[in-house]
Symmetry: C2
Subunit: 451 residues, 2 copies
């Protein structure tokens, strides 16, 4: 289908750019799918990319390529253009994409670019979109959509749509509005095609169970609604129920992925993209906060152990099982937190009651605890003696039950206070479990050995 | 928009079911959006759900509800139906959904249900789909799609589409085939509407850069292609390039989410759904494997420490920093692995070379290591003495550099041997880092204290 982007092909391209071989590039590169062209540009220097980009005079192709570029590559590319050039590029884009790009610039630059735009309507749409918060329906929506009035006939609708057609790249549904531009229903393109041309929209459209969002609805909610109702596009209305935009699934897919990604990043303590172009300094900086939390935890752990120094010097073997206790507490806690985070993400938590869940997790912990402490008892007996084995297995049971209960409650508390519950999976819970686990372990040890 | 599913509303519904109040249920429940009805049924007993489900005689609504049910709820529901009832339900579904449901049954049951189906064409489609592996394009595709022949006029195409319209629920694109049913291009519905009715498809359709998949392509690949090229539907061809099906984005969105979810689950060591209906026994069982790995690691760690027992009894304070060393090694390793797993998921790795990445991670590790070991030196000096502080900070530096390098290499190795690299983020890397970290720590301690 599309040529594999090999190192050799890329080297060829760079050589042809250096040789100013526009003909070859037009034939071999610009005939590819825009997503493939973008992938190639992602792997060139900015000057090379610019050269290839401006080889095509097809504005639609330019727009498609631009929106497929890696975000960092695109930002770099835009930054290297003049205000006039940026303005020209923006006029080819959908309003939501144009607003996203503009949103990355400084206030001064935004004003300059807007002033250079020739299409006043497009400029106005973009300026309007800039008002919305990125993480709301308003921030995701585009101003290009098909709308039809209730009283229009199918013939008139098709004629009107033809006029709007140039602006609206992808058509899934037609939104139906009344005389004051309020959303009253939707109509599928399929239904429109198969209808008699004299029928009116009022006879055809669907007004029941219209799924829509308001500009201020959070993007997360939009993603959830589009997923729940399996929608490819959703109308956006203002507080007066006036139709102001639409959001398409492809914009939300990115959001859904970002959300899933965010949990993964939070759980693994990374806050960066895997992009190889990120500098070492930036990578290092983004990971340090988590590591410092873990280090503070480790220091508190050291404090806990040192308070049992007397016992430890009498029975150094107590130290053998420190890593086991902390590792188990950490893993059990992470598992419980992860389950809760998933439940919250799926929206299960709001409806179901919380106490049974905590009870259930404690029971799961108890069950795993019994199995694992029986196992460790066997191992530790061989390893040392019955008394130490008893201490280890008893502490392990306590630590596991505690960690699973705590790992369940902690993300629920974060969620209640509107903090991202995935935060619980990172070093926080692990570290807290470490400290408390150590305390439990040494306390039981002191008690049983009467140190 | 849709009524919030409150506890009170659910209680009302159950009471009306108990009272056999079909009228109320029809008015209050069956008029909702099918996704909302499904959500209600998810929260009822199977008998209650069946009662509500069969209250509607609208077969399309039944099909929509059925496909929106939670998977476990749906399996339970289907299991409680007779072969004849299942056959009736399947005839209302899209072929891919019907095949998915049938795939959950035993071979005997499948034969019985197929035998009871009245629509032979539908039955044939479903039987054909059952041949494909779930995780391939063939397993995802449906047999319902619009196709047009090159030589058809727009008028004829619209007529033919009208015939096919009943079967095809959602229309995005029309696939264009030649006289031997081979895929030669696509045509958007929008283009069709706006064309003169006498134009032929050959004059209208797009034949350049057709994005398609073959039945045997892995589902992961399909998801990646649809995302890369921003497609809402993609044609599926067989080895002779004959058009055999289509895959729509909504089926793939689930796949994209499952994939992202899989990494999260792997990283946090869970292998279950957050569904509260999962039994305690099942939850416990699914988490044990990770915990046992962690426990084996802990036992090896104990073995490592015990081999330094002599030194430890002379200097019990060495034990203080055991949790710090293991926690830091674990966190650093997880961060590095997570970055690599993300890069692999995004497809960055195949193209970019591997050695620079390892070098970069080692440098990031070195940088973080220097910062953190300077910090811990300060803390440990206050805490104990210069000598111990030197041991701790030197070990920490070594452990961090090791863990970040190892955390990068390990998922790359897994990936090369076609094992899911996310496996590296779970207890495996943490545990290995623990063991090696302990060894480094005690070795340096012994050396510096000359124990």
């Amino acid at each position: 289908m599309s040529p594999e982007l090999t190192k050799e092909f890329l080297q060829d391209i760079r050589a042809r750019i250096a040789a100013d071989d526009a003909l070859w590039l037009k034939e071999q590169v610009l005939h590819l799918h825009h997503a493939d062209i973008a992938e190639i540009l992602d792997n060139l220097t900015n000057d090379e990319a610019k050269y290839v980009y401006f080889l095509t005079e097809n504005e639609d192709l330019q727009a498609d390529i631009l929106m497929e570029l890696d975000e960092e590559v695109r930002d770099r590319f835009i930054a290297s253009l003049s205000s006039k050039e940026i303005a020209d590029q923006l006029e080819n884009l959908d309003s939501d994409d144009a607003a996203d790009i503009l949103g990355e610039l400084s206030k001064d630059q935004i004003q300059q670019v807007i002033a250079q735009m020739e299409d006043d309507n497009a400029a106005e749409d973009i300026v309007d979109l800039l008002n919305y918060d990125d993480n709301t329906a308003g921030g995701l929506m585009q101003k290009e959509f098909f709308q039809a009035h209730l009283e229009w006939s199918v013939r008139r609708t098709i004629m009107e749509l033809r006029k709007q057609a140039e602006d609206v790249e992808k058509v899934y549904n037609i939104f139906v509005v009344n005389e004051v531009e309020q959303l009253v229903g939707v109509l599928s393109l399929k239904r429109l095609i198969f209808a008699d041309t004299r029928t009116t929209i009022e006879e055809l459209y669907q007004s029941k169970n219209i799924i829509k969002v308001t500009t201020s609805d959070p993007a997360e909610e939009v993603a959830r609604i589009m997923e729940k109702y399996d929608l490819v596009s959703i109308p956006v209305v203002d507080y007066q129920n006036k139709l102001v935009g639409r959001i398409t699934l492809d914009d939300v897919v990115d959001y859904i992925k970002e959300e899933a990604d965010k949990d993964f990043k939070m759980a693994t303590g990374i806050n960066e993209n895997s992009d190889p172009s990120t500098s070492i300094f930036k990578s290092s900086l983004s990971r340090l906060p988590w590591l410092i939390i873990a280090m503070i935890g480790g220091t508190i752990g050291a404090k806990v152990i040192s308070s049992f120094e007397g016992g430890l010097s009498q029975l150094p073997a107590l130290a053998f099982f420190i890593p086991l206790i902390t590792a188990m507490g950490g893993n059990v806690g992470v598992q419980s937190s992860a389950i809760v985070v998933q439940a919250i993400a799926k929206g299960d938590i709001a409806f179901k009651s919380i106490l049974p869940r905590i009870g259930k997790e404690a029971l799961v912990g108890l069950m795993n605890g019994v199995v694992l402490s029986a196992l460790i008892f066997g191992i530790a007996v061989v390893f040392s003696n019955v008394q130490l084995a008893t201490v280890v297995s008893l502490s392990l049971l306590t630590v596991i039950v505690f960690a699973s209960t705590f790992g369940t409650i902690f993300p629920l508390i974060l969620h209640r206070y509107r903090i991202d519950p995935a935060l619980a999976i990172g070093p926080f819970v692990t570290t807290l479990n470490d400290v408390i686990g150590l305390f439990i372990y040494f306390s039981i040890g002191m008690l049983l050995f009467q140190l």
